[in-house]
């Protein structure tokens, strides 16, 4: 306040520039647009000249692959939305109508259905990449956290989307999952009724599931934008975990990363198209071709394959509320990892013990996935409990403990030296995704 008055008394005014037109490196029409709306400059800066570490493996292509998946999901989703009817009496038939009478409706619907699965395949590989190479560590914590937000939103969208065909698994899956909220103390039942908009899963629920499926899909787009902005500030991590220092360590995004990512996308697309065209229902459940029937409970209510590990955690705990808390925190705990693992070394290439821990964690993921599809009884329940315990032990015990006791292997000082070492066979990397 004082400062302000003293300034005005000396009759000194800070110049302002509300008109920032100009500064474009382009000329002509491009320059005219770019001077007024600098997106062309930004695009060149962020996607053409942008420097990325030279040592990136194909594990770094999944970000681009996920973007393509998201775009395709939205395009096919909008097309489906033009024919689908969110009505308990018409939903199943409207999907069948899409499959039978809409031109290429079968293609659009199978694409949307299978893309959801492939989106999760890509996201799991993407998360694994982050875990293995320590991409969650300083300064990428916020990007990691945004990623976890995206993952939660993805799960919500996928669940809501699965309810829409209104088959048996849609209906009973919705019933089981929404009923989880009844575990909330005191107000649980009230919340469930409020979620349903009725006293049971039915027309009102289906209608809002449809709206929310759309809403959250676009929320994902929003958070992805933040995720990518953050990426362009902190830069890509790389298999060495060492920050690039000079031009020997980097390549420009285009044409190097673009050509590489394009190849990865095509391979991914090839596998996706083969599955979609030749085994479109392989990843789905046959029961979802039976119209929803509140009077008949399926023998085994199972979620989609990508939820099975979390479903196993949920069922491994006898108390409903604790089960829900365990399931949600098994994902949320990923967000604490940047602080639970305080090793200064990012890449597992140089962390012999942590590397084994991560492989055990991945194994645990598959074991829980298998258990999630099995009935919750006998030996399965025992394994599920061990798996759940390991999952939390990984984060709360192994991560800090290994950070303390582990002695990292000798490290190169730069990315180009890392590449030299790799050529000499001094270090081992995951070969599958190397170039």
């Amino acid at each position: 306040m004082n400062d302000q008055t003293s300034k005005t008394s000396k009759e000194h005014f800070e110049p302002v520039h509300t008109n920032k037109v100009g500064g474009s490196p382009f000329t002509g029409v491009t320059g005219w647009i770019d001077n007024r709306l600098p997106i062309i400059r930004m695009f060149r800066h962020e996607y053409l000249d942008f420097q990325v570490p030279k040592s990136l493996s194909y594990f770094w292509s999944f970000g681009g692959i996920l973007t393509i998946c998201l775009v395709l999901l939205i395009v096919t989703g909008i097309s489906l939305g033009m024919h689908y009817k969110p009505d308990a009496n018409q939903a199943f038939d409207s999907v069948e109508k899409i499959m039978r009478d809409v031109n290429f409706g079968w293609l659009i619907r199978y694409a949307h259905m299978n893309l959801a699965s492939f989106f999760f395949i890509a996201v799991y590989l993407h998360i694994f990449r982050g875990l293995y190479y320590g991409s969650y560590k300083e300064p990428r914590e916020l990007m990691w956290l945004l990623g976890i937000v995206i993952f939660f939103l993805m799960m919500a969208t996928a669940f809501l989307g699965y309810t829409l065909p209104w088959g048996q698994m849609s209906y009973w899956g919705a019933t089981v999952i929404t009923n989880l909220f009844s575990a909330v103390p005191l107000v649980g039942d009230f919340i469930v009724t409020w979620l349903w908009g009725d006293y049971a899963v039915g027309d009102a629920a289906l209608n809002r599931f449809y709206v929310l499926h759309w809403l959250i899909a676009f929320l994902i787009v929003g958070v992805v934008v933040f995720h990518v902005i953050a990426l362009h500030i902190v830069g890509s991590n790389n298999p060495s975990g060492i920050e690039p220092k000079d031009t020997r360590d980097t390549v420009s995004f285009s044409p190097f990363t673009t050509s590489k990512d394009l190849l990865a996308m095509l391979v991914f697309l090839l596998i996706f198209v083969a599955v979609m065209m030749y085994a479109p229902n392989y990843l789905g459940h046959p029961d979802n071709y039976i119209p929803a029937n509140p009077m008949v409970t399926p023998a085994h209510i199972v979620p989609e394959w990508y939820f099975l590990p979390f479903y196993a955690i949920l069922r491994s705990i006898p108390d409903k509320l604790m089960g829900v808390i365990a399931m949600v925190s098994s994902i949320a705990v990923l967000g604490l990892l940047p602080w639970l693992d305080f090793s200064k070394v990012r890449s597992s290439v140089f962390r012999p013990i942590w590397k084994q821990c991560i492989f055990l964690f991945v194994l645990d993921f598959f074991v829980l996935m298998y258990i999630g599809g099995a009935p919750a009884e006998g030996i399965y329940l025992v394994i599920a409990r061990i798996g759940t315990a390991f999952c939390f032990a990984f984060f709360f015990i192994l991560a800090p403990l290994v950070s303390i006791i582990e002695k990292p292997l000798p490290m190169p000082t730069s990315i180009h030296e890392f590449e030299e070492w790799k050529k000499q066979g001094k270090i081992k990397t995951i070969k599958l995704f190397n170039k």
């Binding site: 079968w106 050509s259 065209m277 046959p286 194994l363 996935m369 599809g373």
Partner: protein, 264 residues
């Protein structure tokens, strides 16, 4: 050596889990299904038109007395990739049915002859009527039945072939319940629907139980997946296209990266 042992056992465990992931966990369905060779299997799978036409006849004369097919219209029978009846044949088939229509200008409901655009006529007015007529069991709608059962076409075929006279001692059948080797729980309320000669084919094909079952399952598979042929055709084209494109992009990528990684 030690690490490769660790690695291979690690991969083995994961593959082991996956190899079992398709097994249904319900205890009753551990019987191996019959797996006849289907013309619609494989990369270039196609339906056998004659078989689909015979299959429709089986459906019409046997199944349709209890099972509806609500998602299909008579016009579908003439569409490409299906039984491909001629337009006249489709019209003739549709006109065999009396369809309730209306209300007319006087506000009265009336019946008329079926048109190709009509949906398949259901044997019962509603589910309750259907249950009442079938001892409480509801014969499921057959439109997507093949996709709604684990094992799909093989399962339906096995079920049709799985009626056995000799009932194992540990299974007690109530009234109106039959033994079937492939039905989960081995008990089924549907009496054996097909046996030799239950339909008389007009094209000279011998109507054995196997033949009848194969034809009707082919028909049901088409009904559940009417665009199967188009899908496989387009699938082959797109896989080949992507494969070529991927190979080309591979070389492009390699050439571009030579700029930063010259061959030593």
């Amino acid at each position: 050596m030690k690490s490769s042992l660790f690695k291979s056992s690690y991969l083995f465990i994961i593959l082991f889990l996956f190899s079992f992931s398709n097994i249904s966990f319900s205890k009753e369905t551990n019987v191996e299904l019959l797996k006849p060779s289907w013309s619609f299997d494989g990369f270039f799978g196609k339906f056998d038109r004659a078989s689909l036409q015979r299959g429709y006849q089986v459906y019409k004369e046997v199944c349709a007395s209890c099972h509806s097919m609500k998602q299909l219209s008579y016009r579908n029978l003439g569409e490409q990739g299906g039984p491909e009846f001629t337009e006249a044949e489709v019209k003739a088939i549709a006109s065999q049915y009396e369809v309730l229509d209306g209300p007319n200008a006087e506000g009265e409901m009336f019946t008329r002859k079926g048109k190709p655009s009509d949906k398949f006529k259901s044997p019962y007015l509603n589910e309750n009527a259907s249950r009442a007529a079938n001892g409480g069991a509801y014969p499921p709608d057959m439109s997507v039945l093949v996709k709604a059962r684990p094992g799909g076409s093989d399962y339906i075929y096995s079920l049709l072939m799985g009626y056995e006279e000799k009932v194992p001692d540990n299974i007690k059948l109530e009234d109106g319940v039959y033994y079937n080797k492939y039905m989960p729980g081995n008990k089924i309320r549907m009496a054996k629907p097909l046996s030799e000669g239950s339909v008389s084919y007009t094209d000279g094909t011998k109507a054995t139980q196997e033949q009848l079952s194969k034809d009707v399952v082919a028909f049901l598979t088409w009904a559940a997946e009417p665009h199967l042929e188009a899908r496989k055709k387009l699938g082959f084209k797109s896989v080949v296209y992507l494969l070529i494109l991927t190979i080309l992009v591979y070389f492009v990528k390699k050439k571009i990266w030579l700029r930063v990684e010259p061959k030593v």
